[in-house]
Symmetry: C2
Subunit: 139 residues, 2 copies
DNA sequence: CTGTATTTGATGTATATGCAACTAATTATC
DNA sequence: GATAATTAGTTGCATATACATCAAATACAG
């Protein structure tokens, strides 16, 4: 097998190559649907994660979303700037608690139809994603 | 269903949320394995894509990887800076052709064991990814 | 042909992401 | 109780990514 065929083989069988491409395509669908709300899919992710656990902490978000702490730190700060969340004192002087504001709740509510649309769009473009993701054992 | 439960529901069922998390986790495995070579998974993606079609063009990479053209432009430029690829004249005066250099080929060769390791690591951490990706109909 | 539309890349700007190094606070060790 | 280790978040830096806009080249319509 020459270098070219080997590369082709890698390109076809690499989990990362395929997953990352899928990720770009799918994320684009969601970004399109959320654009009218001035919302990105990454911000939407954080919003729902925060909404699902009122009074959560950055650390919890790090764990539940497998994000780097610095990413959470900066993205949450940005969302605070937009008035969607408030950052308050936590149990420790180290920790913080994050809450949705009224505006944040309202935004989520408004964006829900767009989310449903994105879900549909994704299934249509990519196939049976539910079935696909069902298999994954991510904590 | 109150707002919190609704958010939980979205968080659990959103394709983007789950896919993006999986993408981060998996990409991290590859990045770790490639780090000793000064290579990122994104660069590896491009390298194998270029190797698989010697003399490809940015446009082709855009199409085959579903990347934005500006992303390809800048990433390929960076890889040229590292001496892994050369950018030459294309058929048009608009287009370019991209070639792996000897160093680029050598790097791919060297990194192959790391890639295999990353594949294994991923299967171990995430489950049967092959089965999972088999279902996807991405062009 | 000539003027318009399309294609191909480059560049400006913004977001998302991660690693390394840092600080402050807390916990564990002795 | 003092010191070491760990934890929580922030900040500096770099890469990856996308959208909008631009310029140059080519293709197309008349």
């Amino acid at each position: 097998m020459d270098a070219k065929d080997q590369a082709l083989n890698v390109a076809r069988n690499c989990f990362a190559v395929r997953l990352r491409k899928l990720n770009r395509v799918v994320s684009r669908h969601y970004d399109e649907c959320f654009r009218p709300f001035g919302l990105t899919v990454a911000q939407f992710n954080l919003l729902v994660a925060i909404a699902a656990r009122e009074g959560t902490t950055p650390s919890e978000l790090v764990a539940s979303l497998s994000l780097e702490k610095s990413t959470v730190s900066r993205n949450v700060e940005k969302m605070q700037g937009k008035g969607w969340v408030t950052i308050g004192a936590g149990e420790d002087k180290r920790t913080q608690t994050i809450q949705l504001t009224k505006a944040g709740e309202a935004l989520l509510e408004e964006a829900l139809p767009a989310w449903k649309e994105a879900q549909k769009k994704t299934e249509k473009a990519v196939g049976n994603v539910s079935l696909l993701l069902k298999e994954i054992s991510l904590t």
